[in-house]
């Protein structure tokens, strides 16, 4: 309401989150498609696929699960799971 120049869809955090989630899914699809058809650069696509997946996971937690309004211990506990899980999977998949 304070920024009337923004499109109403972008002013709504939940809808903005959905748009980013769908966009990131499309990016993941493209990376997956590239990865399956490429001989080189698979390392790059593997890391990209995992980072984009956990970015989506974090957005679902932060916006949809309303962790943005949650006490710090709960919010950061979730953040820690996202970072550790993503890192472990990257290491296992590119080793």
């Amino acid at each position: 309401m304070t920024k009337p120049q923004l499109h109403p869809l972008l002013r709504d955090a939940t809808t903005l989150a959905w748009l980013i989630l769908v966009g990131t899914t499309a990016l993941g699809w493209w990376l997956g498609f590239t990865s399956h058809n490429a001989q080189n650069g698979i390392l790059f696509t593997t890391v990209g696929i995992l980072i984009s997946a956990f970015l989506k996971v974090w957005i679902v937690g932060f916006q949809f699960m309303e962790l943005k309004h949650a006490p710090r211990w709960l919010r950061h506990g979730f953040d820690a799971w996202v970072v550790v899980m993503c890192s472990v999977l990257i290491v296992l998949c590119i080793r």
Binding site: T14, T25, G28, G32, F64, M85, L89, C93
Partner: protein, 201 residues
Amino acid sequence: MMDCAAKSKGEVTTSPPQKHIPGELGIWVFVAGDLMVFAAFFVVIALGHNGEQAEIFAQSRATLDMWVGVLNTFLLLTGSWFVAKGVEKSRTAHDSAISRYFSLGILCGLLFVANKSFEWGAKIIVGINPMTNDFFMYYFVFTGIHLLHVFVGLGVLLLVRNASKRPITARNRNRTIETGATFWHLVDLLWIVLFALFYLL
């Protein structure tokens, strides 16, 4: 009412107005437990991806239809959007328009189940089953456990839908809605990782 109370104390109000644990604490204990269990599943899949059976994994993965996984991801993300909007709106109203958000969330979940059934059916009909190899063992078992979550989530959303019709002042109404919505978003969250590990890698 809550907004007025908060404003009178001079607080900046957003929705929801103050820091709080969404839903019951118990649901977050469950979420934490489920995240740990699925963490083990994710690690097992990743180990197979680069293990001795890497070639079998790559060949098996290539037989999955990526767009089926994309469609299911889209259905759960959209279902989550309906549920999240329903939760937001249920804080200030309890008309039938609010419960419709949860009905549409349920519809997305049902379409996910239908799509998954076709996908599994198409595999089983050509003789691919959990005994085919380790990749398909993980695929059927882990997406099967996830599918159980979807069924439970659909039941939970029915309860949420009923709660959303009760007056805003009804005891525990908002807590019930938030708790159920949290579970539904967990179902979405777990699928996002399974989708990446089974279809995209």
